[in-house]
């Protein structure tokens, strides 16, 4: 089973992004489960969302403690919460930040991948410099950084959720994927 945790701030769309990525895995023939942190989401407060992926039906209905992958939507979150908590040895943390991985301030037995998701989102018409909408962009980064889900499935799932956005969200995801995979 693959377990993934998203960190975001209330209003950034972490929970929605978790549903979209679950849909993407599902389209690749996987069994999936996604859920938001079981809490009261306040705008701006740190929130989390979770995804389980497996080849067989998923029966466990409890929180995820040891994720294989972590996706951090907001660059300031790494100072507010311990995004490395419980990450499986050899796992990957993918962070939205213009910094290089070595400068992200995250140390441990895991790989750190960074991408300037905020800039990519704004370049694709998603939000403004002060308030970029990064959730879908970062799903492209997750596809690249984890290698466990295809970018086409991710883009398709995004398009299903945003049928009238002229492809902005899917394009932003593809751009983040391209930046990371060269």
């Amino acid at each position: 089973m693959i377990e993934i945790r998203f960190h975001g701030r209330g209003g950034q769309g972490a929970a929605l992004a978790s549903s979209i990525i679950a849909e993407a895995f599902f389209r690749e023939g996987k069994e999936v489960q996604s859920f938001p942190m079981f809490g009261v989401e306040r705008r701006g407060a740190p929130v989390a969302a979770y995804i389980r992926v497996d080849d067989k039906p998923i029966r466990v209905k409890c929180e995820i403690e040891e994720p294989n992958y972590v996706l951090v939507l907001d660059p300031t979150l790494t100072e507010a919460v311990d995004v490395t908590a419980g990450v499986k040895p050899g796992g990957t943390i993918i962070v939205n930040t213009p910094k290089e991985p070595a400068d992200a301030g995250l140390d441990g037995d895991f790989e750190v991948v960074t991408v300037d998701g905020s800039s990519i989102a704004v370049e694709n018409g998603l939000g403004s410099r002060l308030a970029p909408i990064v959730n879908t962009t970062m799903l492209g980064a997750l596809a690249a950084g984890s290698g466990v889900v295809g970018i086409d499935a991710v883009a398709d799932a995004i398009s299903t959720y945003f049928p009238k956005d002229d492809g902005k969200n899917a394009n932003a995801a593809r751009r983040a994927y391209e930046v990371l995979t060269g």
Binding site: V32, S34, P36, F38
Partner: protein, 384 residues
């Protein structure tokens, strides 16, 4: 066709494909998304139904009773304080024999204010005359809903039914759900044809003042109807299996065949328990689990059949009756009491107010139940 949806939206799509004709509801966390989506279906013309906005849950249920009495297939959804506010009308729906189907998202009762799962809201409505189906997955939510409409509307039953799911752990969790083909479902669940309906052109009084010479018999008729529901649910559950590939039984065993010990569970804990059973089996333990799907009617015969002759039964309750014990435990003990060969029954309280119940917690409860000095009932994981 399979779709990845939350438990809440499973109820919304369920109401649509079951062709509910009247929906009346008042929003409450964590149920809001259920009726939000239904209102969109109705507004967009995707669902041929009347959506009645009301000022409270009490009025929502009153509207549902009226619609059902007029012969409409009727659905609503609520949770916790909202369900409690409906209490008077819950009795009315059952006593008026209106087969309303309702989704209830299990949520604890305040204070302290809470939005997380706890079975106490629905279990507190035990004696209102509603059937109650406790679900372990979103697929279970959909299947239970279809079966509930079919059983509730059967002219030999005519009792309302509640589809019960855990707050957040199901309500906000997405999973793949297999939605049946609409034509096939229409055939399995044809339109509700009420035998007796309110009709302005042919006025009658329903539920008027009834003295001691008749009231008592009316209660007997309701009890008989619930007994018939208890016979019908496994029949419809089996029929559902033939049509859609997923048979349903009132008590669902998992790896129980040779098990000396059986863990009795409900709701989403029943799902997680299966992984715990697999691990305990790998460790050489003789254990299985049993999911109680219907709490009312309570499947006493099926419980006896499954638990008779076992060495031990462990009931995990995500609820508690203050001054006594977990409610599923009391019911299980009641069903087993007259059995000559009855197992010892241990009770664990766990997961109240959304406290997470993990695979290792369930395994730990199993091991604690093997110790003589573990109190009974035992509040698992209590912080001191």
């Amino acid at each position: 066709m399979k779709q990845v949806v939350t438990g809440n939206h499973t109820l919304s799509y369920g109401a649509k494909i079951c062709r509910a004709q009247v929906v009346s509801a008042y929003p409450i966390t964590p149920q809001t998304q259920v009726v939000e989506r239904i209102s969109e279906f109705v507004a967009d013309g995707e669902m041929d139904a009347i959506f009645i906005k009301v000022e409270s849950e009490h009025s929502a249920m009153a509207a549902c009773i009226g619609a059902s009495a007029a012969g409409a297939r009727t659905f609503t959804a609520t949770s916790a304080q909202g369900l409690a506010l409906m209490h008077e009308m819950l009795h009315w729906a059952a006593n008026a024999r209106t087969p309303v189907v309702m989704g209830n998202i299990n949520r604890g009762m305040g204070p302290p204010w809470t939005i997380w799962t706890d079975q106490i809201d629905s279990l507190s409505q035990r004696d209102t005359g509603w059937m109650q189906f406790y679900c372990e997955s979103n697929q279970d939510v959909l299947d239970s809903m279809i079966i509930a409409f079919k059983v509730a509307e059967n002219e030999n039953v005519l009792m309302p039914a509640m589809i019960v799911l855990d707050s957040f752990v199901l309500s906000h969790t997405t999973e793949p759900v297999d939605f049946p083909d609409q034509d096939k479902l229409d055939e399995f669940l044809p339109p509700y044809k009420a035998k007796y309906t309110v009709d302005p052109d042919n006025p009658h009084t329903f539920g008027g003042l009834t003295g001691p010479d008749r009231y008592y018999e009316l209660k007997w008729l309701e009890c008989e109807a619930m007994d018939r529901a208890k016979e019908l649910i496994p029949q419809v559950g089996a029929e559902f299996g033939e049509w859609f590939g997923r048979p349903h039984v009132m008590v669902k065993p998992y790896r129980c065949d040779d098990a000396e010990i059986v863990m009795v569970v409900s709701g989403t804990i029943a799902s997680t328990t299966k992984d715990a059973i697999d691990e305990l089996r790998d460790e050489g333990m003789s254990v299985g689990s049993a999911k109680v799907w219907t709490f009312r009617p309570f499947p006493s015969e099926a419980v006896r059949e499954l638990l008779r002759g076992r060495k031990q039964v462990i009931v995990i309750d995500r609820n508690v009756s203050f001054g006594h014990e977990g409610i599923f435990c009391t019911e299980t003990k009641g069903a087993m009491y007259n059995e000559a060969d009855r197992p010892s029954i241990r009770n664990f309280i766990a997961g109240l107010g959304g406290r997470d119940v993990k695979v290792r917690d369930i395994k730990e409860m199993f091991h604690l139940a093997q110790k003589d000095d573990t109190p009974d009932p035992y509040w698992y994981g209590l912080k001191t």
